[in-house]
């Protein structure tokens, strides 16, 4: 896989060409790398993490209710984010996993969130768990919760957050993701409040990112966007992150989930 990626990268660094020629090369590069994704390895690691007994209660996550009943994994990811009565709030996958770590395993928030974003050398527990759970919604239509008042409120808050400009650089999400046909450097920018743009994205996260050799999750994406927006750091699993994910996932509703996928 690495050899394929390298030859693709070498091809990309050749003399300047027209933007459209470069774009098609990127698409070819994405197609080549997608054929040999190491995502399965992360899913296997995630299964081990799911079944591992740990924490003060020496329990596994196997009884975690991800919205379809305790321990039900099939289709669970495709139904998220959604409202959970036991926590009285809307949760995305990672927020729910954190909730289960704290309630089932008795772990503290500090301990369980100490290393939620891993490195190229070592993916985090949260990342491999996300890949494992999401993989079991592969091929299913995404139907996040949208009827409960708190699900509606999360959507509305997410929409407001999406367009809210703040920080030293005056950025909102829409500064980069609000207009058709734009790009940063060579990266095309999806318009994240339009279904046709956000559907292919929500259908593929979490994902293995070739450029950084890391598995990346949606909580990481929210965190790293705010970093680049020059804002302070959003708390992992905070209402802000969940609301944005609710807004985008509801906008993408109905798309067939085909992740965990591979990204540039």
């Amino acid at each position: 896989m690495r050899a394929v990626a390298c030859s693709a990268l070498i091809a990309l660094t050749l003399a300047p060409q027209s933007a459209s020629a470069q774009k098609s090369q990127y698409e070819e590069y994405q197609r080549m790398t997608a054929a040999s994704a190491p995502v399965e390895l992360f899913e296997l690691a995630g299964e081990a993490a799911w079944k591992k007994r740990q924490g003060p209660k020496n329990a596994s996550l196997e009884q975690c209710d991800l919205g379809q009943g305790a321990g039900v994994l099939k289709g669970a990811y495709a139904g998220l984010p959604r409202y959970f009565a036991d926590a009285d709030r809307v949760m995305d996958l990672e927020t729910r996993l954190l909730h289960c770590m704290m309630t089932l395993q008795g772990r503290s928030r500090d301990e369980a969130t100490k290393r939620v974003f891993g490195s190229a050398d070592q993916a985090s527990e949260m990342e491999v768990l996300s890949a494992y759970v999401a993989g079991q919604s592969h091929g299913m239509p995404m139907r996040p919760g949208k009827d409960h008042p708190k699900e509606k409120a999360a959507y509305l808050l997410g929409q407001k957050l999406f367009f809210h400009r703040a920080g030293p650089w005056d950025f909102s999400c829409a500064s980069c993701h609000g207009d058709e046909g734009k790009r940063i450097r060579m990266s095309d920018l999806p318009v994240l409040y339009k279904p046709q743009h956000v559907q292919p994205l929500m259908a593929t996260w979490p994902a293995y990112r070739v450029s950084t050799s890391k598995i990346v999750t949606l909580q990481w994406r929210m965190n790293d966007c705010y970093r680049q927006m020059r804002m302070p750091e959003p708390v992992f699993g905070s209402d802000t992150t969940v609301a944005l994910l609710t807004f985008m996932t509801q906008t993408a509703e109905g798309v067939q989930y085909r992740g965990p996928a591979i990204k540039r």
Partner: protein, 211 residues
């Protein structure tokens, strides 16, 4: 300053293009004053300061407030006085504003600066290529802002043009209130010398931008 403003509006350069893109967003909703209060309170609750990214960054200034309230398209009677206030606050240095375009090119290439992972004041970049075409040798340029290739070639590099380029980089909102371009000097990301080096990248006849 007055002549600067006239020049800027006459130029219809970076500024105009930046607003147009947002105006076309029919679905872009306007926030209400209550929305801004709500979102600001949520952000204060949900964010933690890290490194140089303090929680004070969540507070809105008048420019951000008006742009949020009007979906980046405020009426002129609201926008003009704010633009003028921003323009007045730009400390245009005396003397030559054209620095070293080679250093300017490095600053334009760097997308770092002002993030919680950056050390304050160290190797800050302008991130210019993220959004603009500049040197034709750089193929990986963004398109959120207009192409600046040949910027000085078509406009010359007299004192007025130097002042405009310096001012636009220092505080883009002085020329177009809800421009998507960061206020790089006003925000403290770039210092005087760095902005002069970027002015050189734009205006120096020897700069690759003007080849």
């Amino acid at each position: 300053m007055r002549s600067l403003l006239t020049l800027a509006s006459g130029c219809a350069l970076l500024a105009a293009c930046a607003t147009q893109s947002i105006v076309t967003l029919q679905e872009h909703p306007k926030a209400t004053a209550r929305d801004l209060e709500e979102v600001t309170a949520v952000l204060k609750r949900d964010f933690r300061e890290r490194g140089q990214a303090k929680l004070s960054r969540i507070e809105l200034d008048d420019v951000q407030r008006v742009c949020n309230l009007h979906a980046d398209n405020p009426p002129a009677e609201l926008a003009r006085p704010l633009e003028e206030a921003q323009l007045k606050a730009i400390p245009i240095p005396n003397g030559e504003l054209i620095g070293d375009w080679k250093r300017g090119e490095r600053i334009a290439q760097s997308g770092r600066g002002s993030m919680w992972t950056d050390k304050a004041g160290v190797q800050d970049g302008g991130g210019c290529y993220n959004c603009h075409q500049l040197s034709p040798k750089e193929a990986a340029f963004g398109t959120i802002g207009p192409s600046l290739a040949g910027f000085g070639k078509t406009r010359g590099s007299n004192r007025e043009m130097q002042q405009y380029a310096y001012g636009k980089i220092y505080n883009a909102k002085a020329y177009n209130l809800c421009s998507q371009m960061p206020r790089l000097g006003h925000a403290g990301t770039l210092n005087e010398q760095q902005i002069k080096d970027l002015v050189a990248l734009l205006l120096d006849p020897a700069s690759p931008v003007n080849q």
